[in-house]
């Protein structure tokens, strides 16, 4: 990113608005998030001796070069993704990002894996309060995701209702499915009921395993970071099918779901399989009333990074045409991760006539954002953008 940052926006011929649907943020160190926990929890944690790690899973699989790019760490040594100023300097300003959707970070994705469900719920509220307090209040370009601890779906739904009407909260964010069931299962439906009530879409992000969180892939426990990084699509195939077969979009007809950071080229073949099985097995799931591919096009979206590329550009485009990629893909950089994609890199891989939709319109529709860019943070109101339009 920094290469293009130095030389300008780096979007080639594309001059339009940009929504970045996957920008990771976190707190500088655990002392910061402690301040957002209940007083008793703070006292308990401060009295602890030994390791005070908040989340399970983090670090179990280690990228040998770190999952964050070296230049994305603040100079004071705090966590990558914890500096608003650096985010502006490295992403928002040079690439003229219209909206950046904050999606928490890898450790927080272990939220649902924390074995103590009460602590997990407190951490959930703390992470969301921190986001509103330290990030959304600073810049109307920055939009927030309500990350949920899904161990107790009713508590998660309450969190959606607690903060879901904040004008810069644009979605609900789910990671590891702690109850060992994919997310279409009716046990999670209270979350979707709350999201639909609040007019918020839901995003699934690949997340850390460990603790109460299951593996994100099938067939046995893997050994290497390289393995899990190539298998994340399995988390999404499982959950995409689950949303379809459980009839989630019949129960919640206004619900939209995005799959974040799991690639997308697997979608066409998976839709073929879903449709084929639906034609044969409909009577087992009679509440499913349409072809799965139709639910997909009406209700589901995918972010681009880490999108799969063939060496031949035309092959890549052909694959994504099979899934109406122009209409369902949403640009994401995945800043500040090691494999972040610059907007120019993504733009160069797709036809120019796709860019308006991929870089803005698809995401604006998904997040129910107003058309046009927000006013800058220097305006009198920090919340100068209009609240999302419901319905």
């Amino acid at each position: 990113m920094t290469q293009s940052s130095a030389s300008g926006r780096g979007l080639g011929r594309y001059k339009g608005l940009v929504i970045d649907a996957d920008v990771h943020h976190t707190w500088p160190n655990d002392d910061v998030i402690m301040e957002y926990l209940p007083t008793a929890r703070q006292a308990y944690r401060k009295a602890m001796r030994g390791a005070k790690r908040f989340f399970p899973g983090a670090g179990e699989f280690q990228n040998p070069y770190d999952i964050h790019r070296a230049e994305f760490f603040p100079e004071d040594g705090s966590s990558a993704g914890s500096s608003y100023d650096l985010l502006c300097e490295q992403l928002l300003d040079p690439f003229e990002i219209t909206y950046a959707v904050l999606t928490h970070d890898d450790a927080t994705f272990g939220l649902s894996g924390v074995r103590n469900p009460y602590f997990a719920a407190e951490l959930m509220r703390a992470a969301n309060d921190y986001t509103v307090d330290q990030w959304l209040s600073r810049d109307p370009r920055v939009l927030g995701s309500l990350i949920l601890n899904t161990q107790v779906p009713e508590w998660a739904a309450a969190e959606v209702r607690r903060l879901g009407d904040h004008p810069q909260i644009c979605q609900v964010l789910l990671a590891g499915a702690s109850l060992d069931k994919p997310y279409g299962h009716p046990i999670f439906h209270p979350i979707y009921k709350a999201a639909e009530e609040m007019g918020l879409p839901v995003s699934l992000h690949v997340g850390y395993v460990g603790g109460m969180n299951p593996e994100m892939h099938a067939g046995g426990k893997t050994s290497f970071y390289a393995e899990i990084h190539t298998l994340w699509l399995q988390f999404f195939t499982t959950n995409m099918g689950s949303f379809i077969w459980h009839g989630v979009f019949e129960e919640f007809p206004n619900l939209k779901v995005a799959f974040v950071e799991g690639g997308a080229a697997w979608v066409p073949a998976f839709l073929w399989k879903l449709d084929a099985d639906y034609r044969s097995l409909r009577s087992e799931v009679p509440w499913v009333k349409r072809l799965p591919s139709e639910y997909f096009r009406d209700h589901m979206r995918l972010t681009t990074q880490p999108i799969e590329y063939s060496k031949k550009r035309e092959e890549t485009v052909a694959v994504f045409e099979m899934m109406d990629g122009k209409d369902v893909l949403m640009f994401s950089s995945d800043y500040p991760h090691w494999d972040s994609d610059e907007p120019s890199y993504v733009a160069s891989r797709f036809p120019a006539e796709w860019h308006d939709k991929m870089f803005y319109e698809n995401a604006a529709g998904f997040y129910r954002l107003p058309s046009g860019a927000p006013t800058r943070a220097t305006d009198a109101s920090p919340f100068a953008i209009q609240p999302p339009v419901g319905g």
């Binding site: 009716p186 459980h246 009839g247 989630v248 019949e250 129960e251 449709d275 639906y278 034609r279 044969s280 097995l281 409909r282 009577s283 799931v285 009679p286 509440w287 072809l291």
Partner: protein, 119 residues
């Protein structure tokens, strides 16, 4: 030019059961449902399985995913393909799960005791 041809008399076609009748080069699956009679080409549009080997079963529908939500529509049975289980509405041949796919059908009717097909 299509003409009405007699396939047999009504007692030869028990209601709710499929019966294969060979008519020249055509394999005609006859299904009688009460006073309604349907004539279907003996070939699934998916993989050309012989429809006559399939079954006529109640249609199961549900308004929403919930316990006890599924109900049986006895008055609107479906024909299921013997190979892959595709369901078809015998009234128009349309696949229940994919309206773009349908069985080939010929006009059929009861004329008194006679079962007629227009081929």
């Amino acid at each position: 030019m299509a003409t009405w041809t007699e396939l047999g008399v009504v007692d030869e076609f028990p209601s709710g059961e499929m019966k294969l009748v060979e008519l020249g080069k055509h394999e005609v699956v006859v299904l009688r449902l009460g006073q309604d009679v349907y004539a279907i080409r003996n070939s699934c549009p998916h993989a050309a399985a012989k429809i006559c080997l399939g079954r006529v079963v109640p249609r199961i529908i549900a308004d929403r995913p919930a316990p006890d939500a599924a109900v049986v529509e006895v008055e609107r049975p479906v024909i299921t393909c013997p190979w892959h289980g595709w369901e078809f509405d015998p009234r128009d041949g349309q696949a229940i799960a994919d309206p773009r796919m349908r069985l080939k059908m010929w006009p059929a009717k009861l004329d008194g005791e006679r079962v007629l097909v227009e081929i």
